[in-house]
């Protein structure tokens, strides 16, 4: 139950994109059409959901002073976390290339860039600083992935429509995307306080 609560909180209240602005680069760059946004969103859910538990295990059993080396190795945290993420992204890339070449082509450069998607590393670092348990880290990973997915789908849909509106030329494209994101962030704030009351 606590895990479910955390899932909802990570997906809606503390949404990675709209509350912390993590993963903005690919969020802004890939959100021009819903189709590519959908594919990237799924990839992010997968990568976040997998790397979070792996990084939890690494942090608990390799890096902490109660782990197998018996000393405090937390200064290696960044390097190990990013290595896990990079290899997982490589895996996802190979899977997508095999099963859906069209999606692979449309995602292009942004697939390897999931490695440097701040939402992924940020999720792992939040998990460490908030001291989640293993179960909670899985829930948090899936939840924040799902929240990212929702946010990118929403803005892609809005950006597809806003193409027909009369936006000032200097604000067209990027500028408008920022302002829409701000408005969406405020809308998501109204979900604050969601709690299953466990």
């Amino acid at each position: 139950m606590e895990a479910l609560n955390l899932f909802l909180k990570a997906a809606f209240v503390e949404n990675m994109v709209l509350a912390y602005f993590l993963g903005m680069c690919s969020y802004l760059a890939v959100s021009k059409t819903i189709k590519t946004a959908f594919g990237l969103g799924l990839a992010v859910i997968f990568v976040l959901g997998i790397t979070m538990p792996i990084n939890w295990l690494i942090n608990e059993y390799l890096l902490s002073d109660t782990g197998i080396f018996g000393m405090d190795l937390t200064f290696l945290r960044f390097i190990l976390f990013i290595a896990v993420i990079a290899s997982m992204v490589q895996l996802v890339e190979m899977v997508i290339e095999k099963f859906s070449p069209s999606l692979y082509n449309s995602l292009g450069i942004f697939l390897p860039l999931i490695t440097v998607n701040c939402a992924i590393l940020g999720g792992s670092l939040f998990m460490v600083s908030r001291e989640y348990s293993f179960g909670n880290s899985v829930a948090f990973g899936m939840g924040s992935g799902f929240g990212w997915f929702l946010a990118i789908i929403a803005i892609a849909a809005i950006r597809e429509k806003i193409r027909y509106s009369n936006v000032p030329p200097a604000l067209r494209g990027l500028g408008m995307a920022f302002i829409i994101t701000g408005l969406m962030g405020m809308a998501f704030m109204s979900l604050m306080g969601i709690d299953l009351g466990v």
Partner: protein
Amino acid sequence: MAETAVQEKEPLFGKKERKLLTDPLDSNNPVTVQVLGICSALAVTTLTFKALVMSVAVVFVCGFAALITSLLRNMIPSQVRMIVQLVIIAGLVTIVELSLKALNYPVYKDLSVFIGLIITNCIVMGRLEAFSLANKPWRSFLDGIGNGLGYGLILIIIAVIREIFGKGTLMAGSPFGQFNIIGASNETMSYMINTAAEGSWFSWYTNNGLMVLPASSMFIIGIIIWVQRSWNKELVDIS
């Protein structure tokens, strides 16, 4: 040795070099034009001092990562270059994190995960891919510093606007003391402004709570882009 040879052939601060430093400040700004590095940035802009620390960290990491990558560029096999770059960046970020922890612990606590997120800051990675892998060390270093400064500039503009209108202060929490700019003390904000802003100029002003919310940084950056593109017409998005 290689470096001195480069310096003899090309002037240390010729026109090209100066362009490398100033271009990212306006017409090739990493945040508003290249759309890089927004990720780890916007959450730290509530206070100017935090933004300042973050900018210094990014300038440092960006400059030295570019320098090291450029020195190693002929030795890195292209298949594993991403991993090599990430290791270089992660090493530098670890240095920054540990020094900040030793020098100013409250700010370190405040920035929490965002220092670590410099690793995935697309500016650093993007400039390494686009520039350092193909250019000589000195020029790559300048390019890295320039892009770090361009990022810091936007960050500080946002932070100044947000702090003045949201909290009525400037540089709160810094070791140099804070300035009370506008507004009387607001009940909900009084933990931030303990001196009730007695010396401030516009004491009728009520702090704007919106500016403290994360969403406001999106609006401000949108407006910055609008202003910049209104006078620099080349940047306008035609699609």
